[in-house]
Amino acid sequence: MTEQTAGPTEQTARELDPLEQAFPGILNRDERAGYSGYLVPPAKLLEFATRLRNELGYEYLSSLTAVDYFPDPKMEVVYHAYQIEGGTGFVFKTQVPREDPVVPSLVEVYPGAEFQEREAWDLFGIRFAGHPDLRRILMWEGFEGHPMRKDWREGYYEEEVKPFKNRWPDGGVYRIEDKVPFHMNVKYPPEFSPEGWVPEGDAALYAGMGRIDSNGDGQGIKTDQIIVNLGPQHPSTHGVFRMVVTLDGETVSDLKPVMGYLHRNHEQIGERNTFLMNMPYTDRLDYISSMGNNFGYALTVEKLMGIEPPERTQYIRVIMAELTRIVNHLWAIGFLLNDLGAFFTPALYAINERELILDVFEATAGSRMMCNYFRFGGLARDLPPGIPERIRELVFERLPGRIDELDAYLSENEIVRSRCIGVGVLPPEKAIAYSTAGPVLRASGVPYDVRRAEPYGIYDRFNFDVAVRYGGDVYDRYLIRVDEMKQSLRILQQAIDQLPEGPIQTGKAQYQVRVPAGEAYGRVENPKGELGFYVISNGKPNPWRYHIRAPSFINLTALGEMCKGYKVADVVAILGSIDIVLGEVDR
């Protein structure tokens, strides 16, 4: 990789741009080939971020991640910030030595950085000075090492990158589990004994929980606070997910999510893979909306490659992404009602319609959920005969009536209303500060939708409204999904009417794409919120860095804030209204 550290000699050698002049000694343009943004020295980071938010209006920290440049002795933390009015983002980075990486924490400027910084600490070992609760988040407490570092090797390590050399032409087939038997695939810290180990993590977790002095004034009955663990095996958590709740009677005084039970180091698998191999893996992030994940990843790599898909592909992509949104929201609403106690009747009515859309996916992409349909500069295949007519029938005849029926069925129901209205309120300024995205952000009165704020694909050609609700409670987060489905139908009706004929692939479909060196951050408005991919290529067949800004993971940052002061039964409803998928939260 060509590396340039912006030293003082280079600074004087070239002209400073207006931003560098406005922040002398703080901002240095990132001049590596294919890179953008600015470098900020770690000592100035907090000051700069505060001014970026307050003076330049970049209130929304979309993504925070780290990059390991091993064998170069440095690591980099990369920030992507946006203005809430829309437009392109601002990228800034800070570089720290690899042996002792310490970066000031931005949690006090951008509270949404809390979990992302914990993730960077967990996976890269970068310490964030001043972070309120810097514990591991995805790995377990006794884990040895930081698994996203380039010199870390997994238990089932075979080779640095795929394709592995021994698969062909000699093909001595083996199962990796036979070579690395069960107890050998885990590494423990030195002098660690699994039998004698008592987890310290829980004590640290409980110690960090906020407690109210319930009886400070000497009035009323003295109550003890108790800690309750909801999950990890609990039907309301939509997977393996745990919420530690401190309760004052029935009232939640603090809540912390515990996650990582489904962690598989997706990003590191992605860095071993070639660019194309990652496509089916993205299906398995948010497995309810795999087409949307494909879209985000294809866009990002296309950005790096500098190619555009043909017209017909653009339309098919929008059709698939919007059908996915309907699929996802039907599922979300159905299971929110399950969480409220309306056991499975609404969910099955919603799933009934979802099945019809999955039939379309199966006929087109070959699979109902793991679609793997998008390719760089194109699609896996064109729509098969009969499918455009099927989609037309669905979006003009079937779905509008069914979504209205679901709306009539649930929205006015008194039980739903009394369980949801005024529960889990997230005010707009907090929704932005906590970097929430998608329906959670828009239900809090912030009309921020990537499809409008920074249009990708051909979304600028369609008439649709950005759904927005102002209550910020569970009820509005439910209603906004109904609104969004109706808007998606509007987009679908336009797209299917305008669907042009033509090729679906730019250039020849290749399994080994050439991706020029550089970085790209691509984001799409996935049903659960803003899904971002941060990909760095160094010109080789495998990505150097492959990071996912997972909307349901970052939306969880605000969960504790949403639950404080409500009853323990509301926690279940509030979690259901965020709509998480653990495949994406844990990656």
Binding site: P169, S367, E414
Partner: protein
């Protein structure tokens, strides 16, 4: 009045409940175990319950449905089988979870690779049914299957499929994927025409690793 919303909701539930019986009447008791009715029940005009009485009833599998790959062999006129696979290794290289293992052999006389695999393994425990092998196969030799009922009594050795288990005749391929089969046949015919135009019927050369 409080409760109106609930009553309206219950009316919708009752409507859904009755619709199934109306649909039963419409089919005169032939709503189930009837392929024609199944199509309607699973289509955009469906009303009432939409469950399928598996395994007596099965959903129609669309042509593009993909499950574990299989290898295609052509049945020649003299009764011998000819593998389309030339063991070029592209599928093994493109496979995301790296579950394809190919043994290629060299001709003892010429020392050149023999364009048929000696052995071909797919670990179906690892295969993620992504279909990339079939998409990028340059010889129309590996295609995705429709057979999804793979239960077996042994989950180790039996789940590594070898060439014998993976190979299926071109006629099977034509039966499960007629449209794709036609496309492939056209592509093969075109290649043969090109080769004939170049003169000589050389055995296709094995593509060498780039």
């Amino acid at each position: 009045m409080y409760g109106i919303g609930i009553l309206r909701g219950l009316a919708i539930t009752i409507k859904h409940f009755i619709e199934t019986y109306l649909d039963d009447l419409r089919w005169l008791g032939r709503r189930y175990y009837n392929p024609e009715a199944l199509q309607v029940r699973q289509g955009p005009k469906a009303r009432g319950v939409f469950t399928v009485q598996y395994p007596e009833e099965r959903l129609t599998i669309p042509e593009e449905f993909r499950f574990i790959p299989f290898l295609i062999y052509d049945e020649l006129e003299d009764g011998t089988k000819h593998d389309r696979c030339t063991s070029c290794g592209i599928c093994a290289k493109v496979c995301p979870p790296q579950c394809i293992w190919i043994v290629r052999s060299d001709d003892p006389v010429t020392g050149r690779p023999i364009p048929e695999p000696v052995e071909f393994y797919i670990d179906v425990d690892i295969c993620m049914n992504c279909g990339l092998c079939s998409e990028y196969c340059p010889f129309e030799a590996i295609r995705m299957d429709h057979d999804f009922e793979l239960a077996s009594y042994d989950r180790f050795a039996e789940n590594i499929y070898n060439k014998a288990k993976l190979s299926k005749p071109a006629s099977y391929y034509a039966s499960v994927r007629p449209l794709n089969y036609a496309i492939d046949e056209a592509a093969i015919a075109e290649k043969q025409a090109k080769k004939a135009a170049r003169g000589g019927l050389k055995v296709p050369e094995v593509q060498v690793d780039q």
